[in-house]
Amino acid sequence: MSIVELQQVSRHFTKGRQTVEVLNGIDLNIEEGDFLALMGPSGSGKTTLLNLIGGLDQPTSGSVEVAGRQLVGLSSRKLAQWRSRNIGFIFQFYNLLPILSARRNVELPLLLTRLGGRQRRRNADVALTIVGLADRASHKPGELSGGQQQRVAIARAIVADPRILVCDEPTGDLDRETADEILDLLELLNREHGKTIIMVTHDPKAASHARHTLYLDKGNLVREAA
């Protein structure tokens, strides 16, 4: 069953009088439970495509249906609410709030739920345990290594139990060994917890952890590799 269905999706940006075509009529289906790597040169439209699937951006034309919801035309408020329930985001530079402890960072998405404080903390601790950082719950991001920060970001992404994890270069700022640990963790989340993972990467080794790899070039899907 497709969890992501894109039909004839285009995204153009206007800079002054110039129109930049970033995505050109993309058709894409992603099955639930898939682990998909999106590769391609810089400026090929990978992050733009990821933003559209994650409900952060709207296409210039076409249809974007994710987790059973047509995202085109949704208001900013509806999109935000939809994101909080369906998407977990993982960024290259972790994007943790430096003033909050690891537990509080992980707890952030739960502030949008009806859960009480105790339950939120319990859920955050469970998420930190899954990523192997239960003993670092009270540490602030500045007190953690890059790999540990990315694990906290992954815990934050999964704490509200979304169906889809959207990862933008999740290992781009990490050394090889740490990157492998993070990719193993993503594989675990895909395999054991059934999360659909869509990952943008430049790194073929990172992409090798995915079940499928798609290549983008100048806004077009050019080929799919197994």
Binding site: N51, S76, Q81, S84, L97, I99, L100, R104, L111
Partner: protein
């Protein structure tokens, strides 16, 4: 409330900057609490003055003085029940910070006129009988540890003695209280006869004001006009008004207290507004990517704007509340020092509430623009920063 830890942590992300801003706000509201309370004391003095008493003052300036010979003419005016005089003595007790009003008066008639002042009849007899006698408000005596029989030296700055000395010494023969605390100008009083005889002969017979009790308060306006008419063509013309009006005129001579204080406070709050707005704008600029992350996680535009706005309101509210509380403590500590001059000074509920209200309003005004900017923030663009 779920987001309170987030707001609190954001507020103190740059501790030095936040504390400096907080101290500025505290200082502003400390000033607000003190100045509004002092202005309130002036207004209170005006409000509680007796309406059956008239104050006869020099027409042109309060420093001119009036001849005591006016008293007999005033007493003869139709509608005047009783009259006496008062003279502003000035003077210093021990050091200039020990300020309290001092007046030479006619003991018996003065206490008749100010019936709200309660004094033991035996002490009043002594006050009248002993030439160097003085009486003081009970709380003033308590403040300085005076006991009956103590000799109280006052250094004169307006009135010198005939022997060239500026040292006046009085014997405390009694204390008095004010019924229901209704007057705010209880003063150190001493015997006029002694004062007049002892001062430099050229200045003898000069008093500052006359106080008149009228038989019918409803006729106060007509009686005032009659008194002034008596002296219209003399070299010492008078201006008579109810005590309430006279106090107002006195305050007006000092300056429009309310206007002065409000002007100071407006300048202070305007500065605080700019300072805090700058802090909040900087704080917002620094965390644009973080706000974008919150939006990415599902925080709505409105919720993110509210977080920023509440941060500003919390900062100003906290500063305001601490400043107002500190001014309350300061007034408690300074109250006895200031009461001698300004009467009863207290932090009223109105001052407290208006202070808190202004603080919250300041928070909203300061936080509005950053909050709107946060609301407008586009996630995709902001994440690139």
């Amino acid at each position: 409330m779920k987001s309170f830890p987030l707001i609190w942590s954001n507020l103190f992300r740059r501790r030095v900057r936040t504390f400096l801003t907080l101290f500025s706000i505290i200082a502003a509201f400390l000033l607000f609490g003190l100045l509004r309370s002092i202005a309130g004391a002036f207004e209170m003095g005006v409000n509680v003055a007796g309406v059956d008493r008239l104050m006869v003052s020099p027409k042109y300036s309060m420093v001119d003085g009036l001849p005591i010979s006016h008293l007999a003419q005033i007493e003869a005016v139709e509608g005047v029940a009783e009259a006496t005089h008062m003279t502003w003595f000035g003077g210093t007790y021990q050091n200039p910070t020990n300020f309290f009003p001092k007046f030479p008066v006619q003991p018996r008639v003065y206490f008749d006129l100010y019936s709200e002042y309660i004094i033991d009849p035996l002490q009043l007899d002594a006050f009248e009988r002993i030439r160097t006698a003085a009486v003081a408000p009970a709380d003033l005596a308590e403040q300085y540890g005076w006991r009956i029989g103590d000799r109280i030296p006052i250094e004169g700055d307006i009135w010198l003695r005939g022997d060239g000395s500026d040292l006046w010494e009085f014997e405390l023969v009694g204390t008095y209280t004010v019924r229901d605390d209704e007057s705010t100008f209880a003063s150190f009083l001493f015997n006029y006869e002694y004062f007049d005889e002892a001062r430099i002969p050229e200045t003898q017979g000069i008093v500052s004001n006359f106080v008149v009790r009228v038989t019918d308060p409803d006729q106060a306006g007509e009686i005032s006009a009659r008194i002034d008419a008596q002296f219209e063509n003399s070299i010492n013309p008078t201006r008579t008004a109810t005590e309430e009006e006279a106090n107002r005129q006195f305050a007006a001579q000092v300056g429009d207290i309310g206007l002065i204080m409000n002007s100071i406070l407006s300048a202070v709050f305007f500065t605080i507004l700019l300072l805090t707005a700058n802090t909040m704008t900087q704080a917002l600029r620094e965390r644009i990517p973080e706000l974008a992350v919150l939006k990415t996680l599902g925080f709505t535009d409105r919720r993110v704007a509210l977080l920023v706005l509440l941060e500003s309101v919390l900062l100003c509210g906290l500063g305001g509340a601490l400043g107002i509380a500190m001014s309350g403590f300061a007034l408690q500590a300074l109250g006895p020092e200031l009461e001698g001059f300004l009467g009863q000074i207290e932090m009223t509920a109105a001052t407290t509430l208006s202070g808190v209200g202004i603080a919250l309003l300041l928070g909203v005004v300061v936080g509005l623009n950053p909050a709107l900017s946060a609301r407008r923030l586009q996630v995709v663009e902001a994440l690139r920063k």
